[in-house]
């Protein structure tokens, strides 16, 4: 059926150990905060205690006099250039210039000989504020009586989107059933275990930054721009990174402020955020307020969908424009329908900025959609899986918003999920208080367009074989933040060249030594960086075979390489070891290298915002959850989750399933536990890991992750997405399982025990 099932691979498709695992289990792996650079100072940032305030004066004189303090800076000491990561919406500065826009906004900074001195110095800076009324409720942010946060965004509207495909009103008129429901999402946040961290060194007019980053390229681009340097004079190096999940895609104050302090002092400066600062910086999930209307035929066929959103963007734009577009763009992906209207306002509030988190803008709309689809099925008397099958996307189709889908085994995912979960024996048949529910999802395999306009390829790779021919090194800009890209790209390189995984070395994510790559976001690297690696590896393979043909006096077409042996097909006794040929190559011609790059084809339609959601390939997933509800307390225990993913060819099964498990774990936290909450002054009440409750090992269900056979023609060897797709179905599947268990429907995330209890309580009240 597919190349994946007919061709035997030597290196890919195997659960080789992670290339960095040994360093990580022994404590040798060095994260940014672990690094010590000679002469290094520690930087600390003074942050605003107010959600919205004018800075009247800052007196740094006492702080400057503290022994051990090397520099104290305010906005007047640093470039006033506005930055951001959404083009045309640059609205943030290194340090607040006139106003602070959130609690935790950046006001001043200190570099000192150690952390304690730096912290003491912060306490000696006197800031006089004029406290302004703050915008704290996104639903009121556009009201006339609300203060305007940014001068350029009237009525606090960050972006307003109106997309209209087909004729949704006509579709509703033709529908047998039209439902409108309102859903509310939560402010979840990434919580990478490693906080944001950077060390900046300014030497000979060159800035070097070691950073906990998801994208050295975007960091280099923006940091160079803000400081007026050429990109070649900014080097961004990624040490080991302790997770990102979207929160480390753009430079933070850790980079900008440490760089400014390094320039001022002439000494390297390290800034590591404490956990509260990670919450201040945020860039986590937008809380989305969604009104969703869907019309269906009596057979359950979806005719039209209208989504109306107000989403809370927080203080700065960050990547929020894309988040807002994604909230609509991903809705038509997994089910086929022709009429769709999407209206969305992203508004500013004086709360921490929201941006991309695993699944980007898509998980909360998916929660709404999957919940409503179950309500519709209930009204129609249909099985929830059946209604999904009626609407499931088929391969080689185009969505109404011009997203081109090649491979799509969504139907197979639904079937397999039904089978392995024992759905038929459980749905509607479990004892009271127990239930089962389904939710589905699908996601891009890399964005079709980079975040800023450029014609650069999306990924590039260089492979260099050693002079002795014993090892090969892959130089790649792709960014391993824990997901394992270094490992699977090394596997791909070995496969393409014809050597073993153990022969591979990798140098990655350093803007000076590795070729350009946009980085770890949008589930892009396996496909995009993978293409570049495959091309580079195959270029090495071709050169080796050409020389081997000469040495073996055979024709190029007759030769093959497998695990370091170059042989004549059909006459395996005519062979040469890889190292012999590679060594001979170096002697005759110099370095044996291969290079590759990847640019996706031109994708997408012509309407405003058409670029968002485009991708060379899409993944699909069905997830079924089983729950037990304590009706007296509202406590929900999820006992089992079955995830079936359509992710194309698998490069490393262990790492792939680990991605599914991690992605649905993040969905689970958002579904049931996690929400940043604020007091009436905009101060976060739970900016710590005790009260912002990431689930523990005791809270998680048994997880079964399975795959369906799938091959994606747009991907190298047939690969596509896995890292984010499994976050999308979880919230809906939980809500649907809770409904199945106790007959109450929850519309607000997270689905906390108190909300479940209240819903039960409301139902019991005589109406």
């Amino acid at each position: 059926m597919s190349e994946a099932t007919t061709k035997e691979f030597s290196v890919i498709g195997k659960s080789v150990p992670k290339i960095d695992a040994r360093d990580k289990v022994t404590g040798r792996a060095k994260y940014t905060g672990d690094l010590k650079v000679t002469g290094m100072l520690i930087g600390k940032i003074l942050r605003s205690p107010h959600a919205h305030a004018r800075i009247l004066s800052i007196d740094t004189s006492k702080a400057e006099q503290l022994p051990g303090v090397e520099a104290v800076i305010t906005a007047k000491d640093v470039p006033a250039t506005f930055y951001g990561i959404s083009p045309a919406r640059y609205d943030e500065t290194i340090l607040a210039i006139e106003k602070v826009l959130q609690v935790g906004d950046k006001v001043a900074a200190v570099a000192a000989v150690d952390e304690e001195t730096a912290v003491k110095a912060l306490g000696l800076i006197d800031v006089e504020y004029e406290v302004l009324p703050a915008v704290l409720d996104p639903l009121r942010a556009m009201d006339e009586d609300q203060p305007q946060i940014h001068p350029q965004y009237e009525r606090n509207i960050s972006v307003e989107i109106h997309q209209d495909f087909g004729d949704v009103e006509m579709a509703f008129q033709q529908s047998h059933l039209v439902r409108t429901d309102r859903f509310q999402g939560n402010r979840a946040t990434h919580v990478p275990m490693e906080p944001h961290a950077a060390i900046s060194k300014w030497e000979n007019g060159k800035l070097t930054i070691w950073s906990s980053t998801q994208s050295p390229h975007y960091f280099q681009y923006h940091i160079a721009r803000v400081f007026g340097l050429k990109m070649g004079d900014v080097r961004v190096i990624k040490p080991t990174v302790g997770g990102g999940f979207g929160g480390k895609l753009e430079p933070s104050a850790a980079e900008y402020v440490s760089a400014a302090l390094a320039m001022k002092t002439g000494r390297p400066v390290k800034i590591v955020f404490d956990r509260k600062e990670v919450f201040f910086h945020n860039r986590g999930r937008h809380a989305q307020h969604i009104e969703l209307t869907t019309g269906v035929t009596k057979e359950g066929k979806i005719l039209g969908v209208h989504g109306k959103y107000i989403i809370d963007g927080g203080s700065y734009t960050s990547l929020g424009i894309a988040s807002a577009y994604y909230a609509g763009a991903m809705l038509p992906l997994i089910y086929e329908f022709d009429h769709f209207k999407f209206d969305c306002f992203r508004v500013h509030t004086n709360l921490p900025s929201c941006a991309a988190q695993r699944g980007h803008g898509a998980p909360q709309p998916r929660f709404a959609f999957e919940s409503q689809l179950d309500m519709i099925a209930k009204e129609l008397g249909m099985d929830p899986i059946e209604i999904r099958k009626v609407n499931a996307r088929r391969p080689n189709t185009m969505t109404l918003n011009d997203l081109k889908v090649n491979s799509c085994e969504f139907m197979a995912c639904l079937e397999k999920a039904r089978e392995i979960s024992g759905w038929v024996g459980k749905k509607g048949k479990l004892p009271p208080g127990q239930g089962i529910g389904i939710g589905c999802g699908g996601f891009i395999t890399g964005a079709g367009y980079p975040i800023y306009r450029t014609r650069l390829p999306h990924a590039a790779a260089i492979v260099k074989v050693s002079e002795q021919g014993d090892i090969a090194t892959l130089y790649i800009g792709a960014v391993d933040i824990g997901q394992g890209s270094d490992t699977i790209l090394a596997q791909m390189a070995a496969e393409a060249i014809g050597i073993n995984y153990e022969d591979m070395r990798i140098v990655s994510a350093d803007t000076e030594t590795t070729p350009h790559d946009f980085g770890a976001y949008a589930s892009r690297q396996t496909l995009m960086s993978g293409h570049a690696v495959k091309q580079a590896g195959e270029e090495v393979r071709r050169q080796i075979i050409e020389l081997a043909a000469e040495l073996l006096e055979a024709s190029v077409a007759d030769l093959d390489i497998d695990r370091r042996v170059i042989f004549v097909k059909g006459s395996p006794e005519k062979m040469l070891p890889f190292e012999t040929v590679a060594n001979e190559f170096f002697i005759r011609k110099g370095p044996l290298m291969g290079k590759g790059s990847y640019t996706p084809p031109k994708l997408g339609g012509k309407f405003k915002g058409a670029a968002v959601g485009t991708s060379p390939a899409y993944s699909f997933a069905a997830q079924i959850s089983q729950v037990e509800v304590d009706e007296e307390t509202g406590q929900v225990m999820v006992t089992n989750v079955w995830d079936v993913h359509d992710c194309g060819t698998v490069i490393n099964p262990n790492l792939l399933h680990a991605q599914v498990e991690g992605a649905l774990f993040m969905g689970m936290g958002e579904a049931m536990y996690e929400q940043v909450v604020f007091d009436d002054k905009g101060r976060p009440l739970n900016a710590n890991l005790g009260e912002y409750r990431v689930p523990t090992a005791l809270d998680v269900p048994q997880v079964i992750s399975e795959l369906v056979d799938s091959y994606e023609p747009a991907g190298p060897w047939g690969v596509k997405e896995v890292g984010e797709g499994a976050t999308l179905p979880t919230m809906g599947s939980y809500a649907n399982a809770i409904y199945d268990a106790i007959g109450v429907r929850l519309y607000d995330l997270p689905l906390t025990p108190e909300k479940v209890w209240r819903a039960i309580h409301e139902r019991k009240k005589p109406s």
């Binding site: 307390t633 406590q635 809270d699 209240r758």
Partner: protein, 289 residues
């Protein structure tokens, strides 16, 4: 994060510790495990000039039985030492389970019984079960020693009856006629979560009749509180499901919860109702397990 500077002293005897506390007055805090105190100091909520460490006072660490007195738990015993103590496991497993319900392994190896009580956090897990078991607090000061009912120890959030120069030395669980006890905590996560509500109970049951009962509520009042009206519903009566349901309702009514990020007043009252019933049933049916 930085702990603000302070002077560290580690006295060699309880008397010396008390003398230092008298000397330093309000500028000193006792350092037992530190799992609560150091967090507050890092957060800038507390800036003591002196920390008087109990590190060297091994006499405060033991858990033992004294005939005629009962089980004595040294204030420096850690939560894990309580949880794993054989004597407690045999006599009052409910105390071990309350210790087990706290935080996580790492904190339970640091945090102490004394710290848990003296911090007087309304959601603390040990006070309800200890009060349900009629525990006493042995308090040592520079001018001598006194023993009071633990029930009377708490005055409000962060406030206890400890006077200047006094140290909580031990908790005593007296020998008692009770036939069963239990603590149920409701947290929003199975580890590392504070109680939204916690209910402890102890019962003395014979011939199907409740001879005596204590119901103690946590996290639903400024201090751990006895649900005396609820106790009165059950005390001296033949035990029935209806009566236990009634006890739960009354306990909920007399609790004094507040709304915060962990739960609303109404929800906490509901939890008190549910947990009181469940705790009583367990205490009646399972003894001290």
């Amino acid at each position: 994060m930085i702990i603000p500077e302070f002077e560290y002293v580690s006295p060699q005897s309880v008397q010396e510790a008390c003398a230092l506390l008298v000397q330093y007055g309000d500028s000193a805090r006792v350092l037992a495990g530190g799992s609560d105190l150091l967090v507050k100091m890092k957060d800038g909520l507390m800036k003591p000039a002196y920390l008087v460490s109990l590190k060297n006072l091994d006499s405060l660490k033991a858990i033992r039985y004294e005939t005629g007195t009962g089980v004595i738990i040294g204030a420096r015993a850690t939560h894990n030492e309580v949880m794993n103590n054989r004597l407690l496991q045999e006599k009052y497993r409910s105390v071990c389970e309350a210790a087990h319900s706290m935080a996580a392994d790492q904190i339970r190896n640091i945090g102490t019984v004394g710290g848990n009580l003296v911090n007087a956090v309304p959601s603390a897990d040990l006070p309800p079960i200890l009060i349900a078991l009629d525990a006493r607090a042995r308090i040592v000061g520079s001018s001598g020693e006194r023993t009071i009912a633990l029930e009377d120890f708490f005055l409000g959030p962060g406030k206890t009856v400890l006077e200047k120069g006094e140290i909580l030395a031990a908790i005593i669980i007296p020998d008692q006629p009770t036939t069963g006890s239990n603590y149920i905590k409701f947290g929003l996560r199975r580890a590392g979560a504070l109680a939204v509500a916690g209910v402890a109970s102890s019962v003395t049951v014979s011939d199907g009749t409740c001879r005596d009962v204590r119901v103690v509520l946590g996290a639903v009042a400024p201090t751990p509180m006895r649900a005396r009206q609820a106790e009165n519903v059950l005390r001296g009566k033949k035990i029935s499901r209806e009566l236990i349901d009634e006890t739960g309702r009354i306990a909920a009514a007399e609790s004094k919860p507040i709304s915060d990020i962990r739960g609303s007043i109404e929800y906490r009252r509901n939890l008190v109702n549910v947990l009181t019933r469940r705790s009583l049933k367990a205490a009646i049916e399972k003894g001290h397990i």
